[in-house]
Symmetry: C7
Amino acid sequence: MLKPLGNRVLLEVKKEEEKTASGLVLPDSAKEKPQTAVVVAAGEGRLLDNGNYSKPAVSVGDKVIFEKYAGSEIKYQGTEYLVVKDTDIIAIVE
Amino acid sequence: MLKPLGNRVLLEVKKEEEKTASGLVLPDSAKEKPQTAVVVAAGEGRLLDNGNYSKPAVSVGDKVIFEKYAGSEIKYQGTEYLVVKDTDIIAIVE
Amino acid sequence: MLKPLGNRVLLEVKKEEEKTASGLVLPDSAKEKPQTAVVVAAGEGRLLDNGNYSKPAVSVGDKVIFEKYAGSEIKYQGTEYLVVKDTDIIAIVE
Amino acid sequence: MLKPLGNRVLLEVKKEEEKTASGLVLPDSAKEKPQTAVVVAAGEGRLLDNGNYSKPAVSVGDKVIFEKYAGSEIKYQGTEYLVVKDTDIIAIVE
Amino acid sequence: MLKPLGNRVLLEVKKEEEKTASGLVLPDSAKEKPQTAVVVAAGEGRLLDNGNYSKPAVSVGDKVIFEKYAGSEIKYQGTEYLVVKDTDIIAIVE
Amino acid sequence: MLKPLGNRVLLEVKKEEEKTASGLVLPDSAKEKPQTAVVVAAGEGRLLDNGNYSKPAVSVGDKVIFEKYAGSEIKYQGTEYLVVKDTDIIAIVE
Amino acid sequence: MLKPLGNRVLLEVKKEEEKTASGLVLPDSAKEKPQTAVVVAAGEGRLLDNGNYSKPAVSVGDKVIFEKYAGSEIKYQGTEYLVVKDTDIIAIVE
């Protein structure tokens, strides 16, 4: 098991279909869109100056949208994960 | 439903008419103007060092003016949204 | 009505005469000078870490001098405004 | 009257003689020297996080030395002033 | 013995096999992957403004994943170590 | 008299002999060395967020070593001074 | 005697043997290694916002490893020293 540290969150990214059935890449727009993922694990949070932790506002199983290009890729037991800071998570999809 | 995190605010942008009836683009000035949107959802706020939250000063339904180019575009269930930080919202149109 | 957020201040800029009667531009000096405006509305202030607000030190009707090039232009109901942060206001003309 | 805001200080700059009687410029050294001015007005100070103000350490009438190139030039009723932050004032000449 | 200071952590890096049996380098992707190491020693932590320490969230013996290129290499008694800040440790492998 | 403001310190610099008796410049190394000076006056200190001052840790008369190139040169009544921030003073020579 | 200020530490650097008996330079790797030194004196520490000092975590006589290229060189009574900030010290060699 991977246990992210600080305000990091472990994500399993949902690869969006970028090709049509015939294999063509269909760019929707030139502007980058954020990506969707599922929260696999979350750290204890960032230590505040008053001694408390700012616990990440997401829970395991949440489907989230995060800033593209944020974070570090980790391959663990054959699965690829992404570790991002909780501040790079834009929204929860409920 | 999309639930923005932190001091983020989910906006539905009002596309301004940029073309005349005949299809000509009429640039008003070279300087960029901010854009108008309606608040669809707002996060819990930014965690302050004293443990409180700086709740976004906008409410769902507010018509707002925000810094152009701020934020991330999200497409959700066929609608395009923009997620900006509340500090990128310039004013409420009352 | 426009209600600026945070420590933003809504200004109506006094366009200085830059041309003589005959239409010639008379640059006074190469160094940029700040500009004059009247305060139309002011936000609630910036939230401090102790939970208080740093209320803008200007009031509606104040004639102010502000850093040139600061802020965002807004056109609202046919009038052009400028929204600046209160820290971009240099002085009140009394 | 001009009332500077925040930790700004309104200065009237003493133009140093840069030419000799015959009109020659006599550069003393390649390294920039700070300049001298008299304090005309001072703001209320910078708001600290504990709610107090860091009042500028200069008083009206003080002759001060300030960092060259700091601040904004203001022309008001025929007189040229310079508005600098109090942190750009190096020393009081007593 | 080496005793890391502040929020530094002493790591012994596990060199990943980068070659196949036949000696060919098999780059998996162009994007950099983080690396794995074992915690050999940890500092007392970073001093917070309230006088407490933010103790590193790792213990001696933990297998960790850290940001590639972070830290300083140290050779001590024939062994190579890496000293990284605890904020450069992404996750613990449990 | 010059009274430095904030955490500034007024120094009178000891020009090091850079030439031999025969007038040759003898550079010791390509790496810059700090310089020596005597403290002539010290400001009240930097205002901390808790309302106290961080008084400069030097006293009038101290011989100090400071970071070369730090500070502003001031010429006052025929003497050249250097005003540096107290954080640019490296050590006291006792 | 030299008394370092703030969170500075006075080091006497141990020059590593970079040449073999025959005089050849033997570079171990292209990546820079930190260097070893002995603590000669330590400042009072950095003043925290709560009025306390963050005392350097090293004592006179400690053998330390520090970030190469950090600090300022000082020559005093024929001996060369290096003054670094305590945050540039990586580890104590015990």
